[in-house]
């Protein structure tokens, strides 16, 4: 149980720190670290419940999210080779504050939930919700398309954690499908980032405002 708490605190810290870092490369590294933590939680869960499916899932988490996605993102970053720093709509301090507020929201909303059959501390569930919200916050506040990809992966990690805690992982096929989805999404985002860079000489999503009523 202690290791679960340590790992989940690690997840929370990585998520919060994603709001702070300025360099995209660092953010990608943090994301990889976060995915490793998540993979370890999955292994812990597998050992605790004795489900062999979860070992496969854990391995996939580490492979796809810990290694594959960061590699794709790094590769894209190398290809476009400019503006290594993030651009945000709000400042770092404000986004840290917002992240803290979201954490509070997550704790408040989950504290009253009565979920039968969950034998892990409530705080971990709160962290998963907080990850989801902060991932969305990242997607909202960042201007660069690649950071939105990172936000998406954070959100997915939060969902994955919630599923792991509540139902010991989703059905195996669903999990595989989700992995495929997220991987494809990241590849698409990378490709789009590359295209955007070629067209606009920038990956700022402000340029994508023509489609409106």
């Amino acid at each position: 149980m202690v290791s679960l708490q340590v790992l989940s605190v690690g997840l929370m810290l990585t998520t919060i720190s994603l709001l702070y870092w300025k360099r995209i490369v660092t953010a990608i590294r943090i994301l990889a670290l976060q995915s490793f933590f998540l993979g370890f939680i999955a292994i812990w869960m597998a050992a605790r419940t004795g489900t062999s499916d979860l070992y496969v899932i854990a391995a996939l988490t580490i492979l796809v999210k810990g290694l594959g996605i960061p590699w794709v993102l790094n590769y894209t970053l190398k290809k476009i080779d400019i503006h290594r720093e993030t651009e945000k709509l709000i400042g770092r301090e404000l986004s840290l504050l917002a992240g803290g507020a979201l954490l509070v929201v997550a704790y408040v909303t989950t504290s009253k939930l009565k979920i039968s059959g969950m034998d892990v501390p409530h705080g971990v569930l709160a962290i998963s919700i907080a990850m989801l919200l902060i991932g969305l916050l990242m997607m909202m506040t960042h201007k660069k398309a690649i950071m939105q990809g990172i936000g998406l992966v954070v959100m997915e990690n939060g969902l994955f954690l919630a599923a792991l805690l509540l139902t010991y992982g989703m059905p195996f096929l669903v999990d595989i499908g989700v992995f495929l989805d997220i991987f494809v999404a990241v590849i698409l985002i990378s490709m789009l980032t590359y295209r955007m860079d070629r067209v606009f000489q920038s990956t700022n999503t402000d340029h994508l405002r023509r489609l409106r009523g």
């Binding site: 408040v108 909303t109 919700i129 969305l136 997607m139 960042h142 409106r212």
Partner: protein, 693 residues
């Protein structure tokens, strides 16, 4: 699949319409097949309806024709007949027959102008339109009714758009299709609410409807909007004066004479058959009558100011639908005041007037169409003196005009007299003060409308057929072909016959009234019982009195005697001053000048007093400008007066602009920025999270 004889004939006729429509569509040489099949099927519908009314006991065996297309009861096609639908079938069939006959000649002009393909398209459209109207009144469940209703609307939209090259017609068609769909939305919702309470989509189950009064009231209001849109009640009328005049004239006749009556059918069906006459709240009748009043009064006021004959007739249709709904409202009021016999009489008046209106209004449209075909203009200010060129059309138009103005020996008088009687009944029965006040106001509206109608049709007939020609359009006019004259003549004959001998119609309507009101018109009450009066004398006033009774035959006799007397007097004494047999034919005395068409009273001039009297209402904008010569010695003047359409100005335009403003506000939400879309997601997520908590 079970069908009694009459229903079988009805469905067969609809099939013939559709088949003939297909034949006309695919095989352009076979226009005559389409024409004759259309007339045959219309006659079949009329005969089947007549038969159903004469043999009402046949309906006791719940004849239903059912085509189940799937296991879902919602998508089955169900037809049934009852005396109410029989009456409307008779109306559709008889007017459809004569209009089809007229159409044979009328479409010839389009053949020269637009080619054979387009004529067969028009024919196919008219045939399918007739089928869809029959299908509306025969429909036996919600699905069939709504599908028929929508096909009727869409087919009539296509017919309105027949001369689609002209931009004002495109605009008219657009407004029509928008309004009719709005109406159908209300109808659909209303029918579904009823189906919810009836636990069935079958109309036969609807009659045992068990609904709370609030739900009924809501449905009633929806029906009033939905059917009121089709009926052209003010303020839902804006499509009608645009769409009816621009369709080919025989289609206008069908739309104004028949199609808007299907709205009356639907409304009567919902109120009297589904809701029942047992407990009608007082305010329902007030609302229905109150929506009829502005339609009648404003309808005829605007009709009086129109320059185009068909547009004027369209406004007059609004006025007549207003009268009919006033009648329905009075009938409902009398039911809620526990006077079922009088209420039945009021409803009888409504049905009688609706058939009469179908006859004289389609006759008016057909004669206007003849004038249009022959002179290529329907601007009253450019016509005049057509009586010499087109004597037959003039006679038919005169009969139509007299009938609309409810002159006694013609059918228009019968319906309006009965309506008047029922309003009087409402005024004199024992009820609260407010009911009396409403009744008096309704009587004011009815009589005022009657006077204005007479003025409008004196103007329309006089400006078209009397006086001197005001433009070259008239000098080249010639009488229309014999098929058109037969179509109009038969309608005119029907107007005269039903005016002189209305008992036949009243007897025929007994089963419909019995179905709707559960009042047996024969013998239940001495006041409206029709078997205790002699067939040849009179329609009794519903209240015992000697002055209210109406004896059409004696009126005819009196008129004949007076006409002969005056003719004799004229012969005997008229020429004495200038000596016997000394008749000179010459121009009208003109004080030494040559009389010119331009000197004649114009249509605008004739209706000017009304325009001045109601200028607060019309808010006419006038403009006088000198186009030639200088300010003090003008040679040519241009006088423009424009009457803003009130419903558009005061209701629809503010509504539309408010909608646009709201749309602009909402549009800010979609700003194209990915991040803000995510913020919406985010906020929604937070909101849901707090909801869960």
């Amino acid at each position: 699949m079970f069908a009694s004889g009459a229903l079988g004939v009805d469905v067969l006729c609809m099939a013939v319409f559709l088949l003939a429509s297909l034949v006309a569509l695919c095989w352009q040489k076979a226009v005559w097949v389409g024409h004759s099949a259309g007339m045959l099927a219309s006659a079949g519908l009329a005969v089947a309806g007549l038969f159903g009314l004469l043999q009402p006991q046949l309906h006791k065996t719940q004849a239903q024709l059912m085509v189940r297309s799937s296991i879902h009861s919602f998508t089955s096609i169900v037809y049934r007949t009852n005396p109410l639908s029989d009456f409307f079938l008779l109306l559709i069939g008889s007017v459809g027959l004569l209009v089809s006959l007229y159409g044979v000649g009328y479409v010839r002009e389009y053949r020269q102008e637009k080619g054979a393909v387009s004529v067969s398209l028009l024919l196919a459209g008219v045939l399918a339109f007739l089928a869809s109207m029959a299908s509306v009144v025969l429909a036996g469940d919600v699905f069939t009714f709504l599908v028929s209703w929508e096909s009727m609307s869409i087919l009539s939209f296509f017919l309105v758009m027949y001369e689609h090259e002209r931009s004002e017609i495109q605009r008219a068609g657009f407004i029509y299709v928008v309004m009719t769909h709005l109406g159908t939305v209300f109808l659909t919702v209303g029918f579904f609410v009823m189906a919810h309470y009836a636990h069935s989509y079958q109309f036969s189950e609807f009659s045992k409807l068990d609904m709370p009064t609030t739900a009924k009231s809501l449905v009633l209001l929806m029906m009033l909007v939905g059917f009121g849109t089709k009926a052209g009640l003010i303020p839902f009328h804006i499509w009608l004066p645009r769409a009816h005049p621009v369709a080919p004239s025989h289609v206008s006749a069908l739309m104004s004479g028949v199609m808007i009556k299907t709205a009356l059918y639907g409304f009567l069906m919902v109120v009297f058959l589904f809701f029942g006459v047992g407990q009608i709240p007082l305010w329902w009748g007030m609302v229905v009558a109150a929506i009829g009043v502005p339609s009648a009064v404003l309808g005829i006021l605007y009709a009086l100011l129109q320059h185009e004959q068909k547009r004027m007739l369209a406004y007059s249709s609004i006025e007549n639908m207003g009268l009919l709904f006033m009648g329905v409202g009075v009938s409902m009021l009398l039911f809620s005041l526990h006077q079922p016999d009088f209420a039945a009489f009021a409803l009888l008046a409504v049905l009688v007037h609706s058939l009469n209106h179908a006859l004289f209004k389609s006759l008016s449209f057909l004669s206007a169409g003849s004038v249009l075909a022959s002179t290529h203009t329907q601007n009253l200010n450019l016509l005049g003196g057509l009586m010499r060129k087109m004597p037959w059309t003039a006679v038919f138009a005169l009969i139509a005009a007299l009938s609309i103005s409810s002159m006694p020996p013609l059918n228009g008088f019968v319906g309006e007299w009965m309506l008047f009687q029922s309003f009087v009944m409402l005024a004199i029965i024992r009820a609260s003060l407010w009911v009396h006040i409403v009744a008096i106001l309704l009587l004011f509206a009815l009589t005022g409308t009657g006077a204005l109608v007479a003025m409008a049709f004196v103007r329309s007939f006089g400006m078209t057929f009397l006086g001197m020609p005001r433009s070259e359009a008239v000098t080249n006019a010639k009488e229309v072909s014999w098929t058109m004259r037969i179509g109009m003549g038969a309608l005119a004959l029907a107007c005269v016959l039903l005016g002189v001998y209305p008992f036949w119609l009243l007897r025929l309507l007994e089963p419909s009234i019995r179905l709707l009101t559960l009042v047996d018109p024969v013998g239940v009450s001495p006041s409206i019982g029709m078997n205790n009066i002699s067939w040849l004398t009179m329609i009794p006033a519903p209240i015992h009195s000697t002055i209210g009774n109406f004896e059409p035959l004696s009126i005819v006799l009196a008129l004949l005697v007076m006409a002969l007397l005056s003719l004799w007097l004229f012969r005997r004494y008229g020429n004495r001053a200038s000596g016997k047999k000394a008749r000179t034919v010459g121009p009208v005395w003109s004080g030494g000048m040559t009389v010119d068409g331009r000197m004649a009273y114009t249509a605008s001039g004739y209706s000017k007093p009304v325009r001045i009297a109601f200028q607060q209402l019309f808010r006419t904008s006038r403009q006088l400008s000198v186009t030639e010569g200088d300010e003090h010695f003008p040679k040519r003047l241009l006088y423009v007066h424009r009457i803003p359409p009130f419903a558009e100005t005061y209701l629809y335009r503010p509504l539309v602009s408010a909608l646009l403003v709201a749309a602009n506000v909402i549009r800010k939400v979609q700003n194209g920025q990915v991040q803000s879309y995510m913020a919406y997601l985010f906020l929604t997520l937070l909101f849901v999270l707090f909801l869960v908590r």
